[in-house]
Subunit: 598 residues, 2 copies
């Protein structure tokens, strides 16, 4: 029997439904109603939504009485870097499915920075048989374009063949917004690539999308950015930014990540007109938050509790709007022909689903994913051994102390200052204490030393600086997750612990570590590309919790996730002051800047 | 300079804009605001929308001071049969452009019924160089599938090659909804054709659309219709229908045509949730209404005056929503990257634009289209001589009287009764007066005789019946526009005038005529496929007005456009009782029915 016929006959009760959910309170994205309904599925799609009771006699393979519980379309994370969870893609999807997220739009930007196109291929293959539909945006800014040593470059011509890859939805966040506004050649080539591809393949129809990333961009520059074809932005942290983006026809991806939490701040930008252009995303969210708080369902819970946005708008922002934005066919609604991606919620207002279906298949129940499609053997091998520090940094197998030496010139230095709950930083000029002619960290004023070790076997450089506002009181923290080039970043209140942290990650082939007084307090191994684990989510969670506790022991500021925040301190495309392997970067001035003040 | 660069540099004032509109009150579809703005265009698109005054010093080829007048995205007619205007496509577009309509989605269903694929090719070619963007839906129901003689059949395999045609947006209205619900083979083939094409070309992305047409379809049948992939319906005449379609995820195309006027009735279905799924269309609208009332701008005016729907929702329904529904890239907003299709309105609340731009080009001013791209010479030739009545009907070059003879069997006959402002009919059983053993029209009770002459040189059949509720008091009206097969339909209060009307259209090669007492009162020649004129809009209007006056002289009912309504009396897929060349059709029973009651 063909698909059209199967769908039609199932809707009429003449063919056996794959699934029949009786008596659910179904959220209707089109009318905003919650209607007592029976839902039938066939071919992994909804075949009919009938008034409750109407399908009681319909034939069905599986029949469930929803007892008036709420049935809601599966949530969509409109922009996420899976790598930030520290989970391999298969485990990430297991965790998300249990949270009622059935679709994600992933930007495999991190792994591509480390592995190049091989990272993209890995991500696509790893997400072929998982309980979530995973789409990809091609990383548009590898490398980020900041002054740093990068392992890989993805040019327009490198990206071109990937546009045809099934599951690719377009070009990922154009972080190089100065490159757009100042018409940088290599950036124009990517913009034109997408436009020409769309014109050629889709003619007048919407085709592939182009995500933005433009914190604080405004006025004519923002218009130029939009005119270049960029259709979304997830970097708004202020209401003014959010409103200007909406007015410019740029979809507002409202982010609630582990470090960057913009949700509540942006609520006033959401109204009956604009809600349609608002989407939810997590961007970067680590395993602890995913397991303990949730994913998009967490943002939904937060919005519901906040109370200012009507529930129908919240639920559309969490799914349907993203599907429409990305132009996904038949995704985001419990309605005939739509994919049978939905979740059933009790009335406990936790927004933790009791049951989750993906393409008509029950994939999670009471917070547990039903199947465990762990990573395939051998599949991960090419991602190992990615931490390659230069031999020049070592002496007899031990890191040289000189790696961390910062000369005292009697001048104040430019200190990077963390802004809580943001990944942007500001600058403060400080006269640091010295010892033996070398500048030291200053625990009393909460200023740590910061270093970035190039780790891809390229330059072998080490960038040095100082960091304030993390709340670190002693010891050291290090990470091979360090946006965007993922060199090895380390901060500490003494050089010895910093060197120990670096060495321990070098031995582990990547990860995150906390060291104190010559001891490794905790280490989360991230052997795959130095970005994520190959262990089950439960184990990664335990390791991460242990590491977080160790980091907490070393001290932390309220509103700062030390390791996550640390990993953004080398992201020299986000204002204002950052550190790369080449040194301190003044992001507002697009260039390296001397550590010392004039 | 490449496009991306041109757009960016224009937005920043570094390159000369094609057009700079200063100080307009721009309607923002995304936020619902009306913001004092300057608008710049490049490459036929909007490059920037800046706060009023900001672009005063920007370089621009053309500069216009909008003096705070309202700038609104061009309107979109989401479903229209151009043929119904009686204008050739070029003239139709000239008229629409002056009304602020810059995009239409046309279903060339009428001409394809008469000419087959040649009609489609003609329409596409005729709309290549006009001041409106014309998209096409491939006619899905040629022939309509009713019991009648059709000139052409477009099967799934006939349609397949046209899916690749630039400007084709999908499959047009699936009028054969019983064929869907009862899984008719030839209908399934078309549904599967579209699904497979979309899957193959667009993967998970929305691609081509599938329009619906399902008056009164409800419950599981409507769910089946939606499950088959049908995404819109423009046939709702009741609030209940409208609401059920919206709930089912079927976009509500609200129609305000010349015969079918559903706009005001459906207003209560529009609210803050549903407005997004509501589109405006005209379906069938003739030249007089287009010129005297308008097109989509007329519906806007009516909705504004009605007062129940907020203006931002009205304006989105009139444009942006349709663009989103059909998945049109960068259409429907005055925002960066969007096509520069917009119109400037004074504050006279007529919704007659003072200036209209299409892709950045000024195409109309004060109700007049600026360019006159009339039809190309020779281009129309294949459409002529399409009225071919069977030789068997004639004797010495004159139509035989027997063509119209209806035997008196002493039984009541099933009379078709027109419902004002609808194209649906109902049935009434009436004992008609007889003369010489033959049933006659009955002016006293307002019941005319009705006949349908096959005119494509096929069966040569003549269907006979009776029609009430048109208000005709004397004489006869005839038309070669007779949905859907466009045979020759004629109604009259006496056989002589009916035969004269048929003969006059036969001689004219198609058209519409009003005859009285042996005289042709008025004749509108429609020599192209018997459907539309090759004359300029102004002339067609004059001829149509003259014809309408003549028809009025013969009598008409309030709320009934006699010739337009007559042309739907053979459309045997709209309930309940219709007449084709094969005889009376009971649409609810999907078959021919005897004229006489049991």
């Amino acid at each position: 029997m063909d698909i059209a016929k199967t769908m039609i006959e199932t809707a009429k009760g003449n063919a056996e439904a794959e699934l029949c959910i009786l008596n659910a309170k179904v959220f209707n994205v089109f009318t905003g109603e919650f209607l007592a309904s029976d839902v039938l599925t066939a071919c992994g799609r909804v075949a009919a939504v009938l008034p409750a009771g109407a399908a009681r006699e319909y034939p069905a393979r599986v029949r469930i009485n929803a007892e008036e519980k709420l049935l809601v379309p599966g949530f969509i994370d409109s922009h996420v870097h899976i790598e930030s969870s520290h989970l391999c893609p298969e485990e990430f999807c297991r965790v998300l499915a249990a949270r009622g997220v059935t679709t994600v739009v992933a930007d495999p930007h991190e792994i591509c920075n480390v592995m190049g196109p091989a990272g993209l291929r890995y991500m696509i293959e790893a997400t072929q048989d998982v309980p979530v539909t995973v789409f990809f945006m091609l990383p548009s800014c590898v490398p980020a374009g900041a002054p740093e040593t990068a392992a890989h470059t993805l040019s327009a011509s490198d990206l071109a063949p990937w546009l045809d890859e099934p599951g690719v939805l377009g070009l990922g966040e154009m972080m190089n917004y100065p490159g757009v506004v100042f018409t940088q050649e290599s950036v124009l080539a990517k913009l034109n690539l997408l436009r020409e591809y769309n014109d050629g393949k889709f003619g007048p129809l919407s085709g592939l999308s182009l995500d933005g990333h433009a914190p604080f961009l405004t006025g004519a520059d923002l218009q130029a950015y939009a005119a270049a074809g960029i259709g979304s932005d997830h970097e708004s942290s202020t209401l003014e930014e959010a409103r200007e983006r909406l007015r410019s026809g740029i979809a507002l991806m409202i982010r609630e990540g582990s470090s960057a939490k913009n949700l509540i701040d942006l609520v006033p930008a959401i109204d009956g007109h604009t809600a349609r252009q608002c989407l939810l995303c997590t961007d970067d969210r680590h395993v602890v938050d995913l397991v303990y708080e949730g994913s998009i369902n967490f943002a939904v819970r937060k919005l519901v509790r906040d109370g200012r946005v009507p529930l129908p708008d919240i639920l559309r922002m969490a799914g349907y709007n993203a599907a429409r934005h990305f132009n996904l066919r038949h995704t985001g609604a419990v309605a005939p022909a739509y994919f049978a991606d939905f979740a059933l919620y009790g009335d406990d207002r936790t927004w933790e689903p009791e049951m989750v279906w993906h393409k008509g298949r029950l994939v999670a129940e009471k917070g547990r994913t039903l199947d465990t499609p762990r990573t395939k053997t051998g599949h991960n091998e090419p991602l190992r051994n990615s931490v390659r520090l230069s031999g020049r940094l070592f002496e007899n197998g031990v890191l040289k102390k000189e790696c961390l030496a910062v000369e005292d010139k009697g001048l104040p230095v430019k200190v990077i200052v963390v802004i809580p709950e943001q990944i942007a930083t500001r600058r403060e000029d400080v006269l640091m204490p010295a010892e033996n002619g070398l500048l030291q960290a200053d625990p009393d004023r909460g200023i740590a030393k910061l270093a970035v070790f190039e780790r891809h076997g390229m330059s072998g450089r080490v960038g040095l600086g100082f960091l304030k506002g993390m709340g670190l009181k002693k010891g050291a923290l290090a990470s091979t997750v360090a946006h965007d080039s993922h060199n090895l970043i380390v901060m500490g209140m003494n050089d010895a612990d910093m060197l120990l942290a670096v060495e321990s990650l070098h031995r582990a082939g990547g990860g995150q570590a906390a060291c104190l007084d010559g001891e490794v307090l905790a280490l989360l191994p991230l052997p795959l590309a130095g970005l994520f684990s190959d262990a089950p989510a439960e184990q990664v969670l335990a390791e991460q919790v242990q590491l977080n506790r160790a980091a907490e022991l070393l001290g932390r500021e309220k509103g700062v996730e030390p390791l996550m925040t640390l990993s953004f301190m080398s992201l020299a495309v986000i204002p204002s002051l950052k550190l790369t392997d080449l040194g301190l970067v003044d992001v507002d001035e697009f260039g390296l800047t001397d550590l010392y003040c004039e």
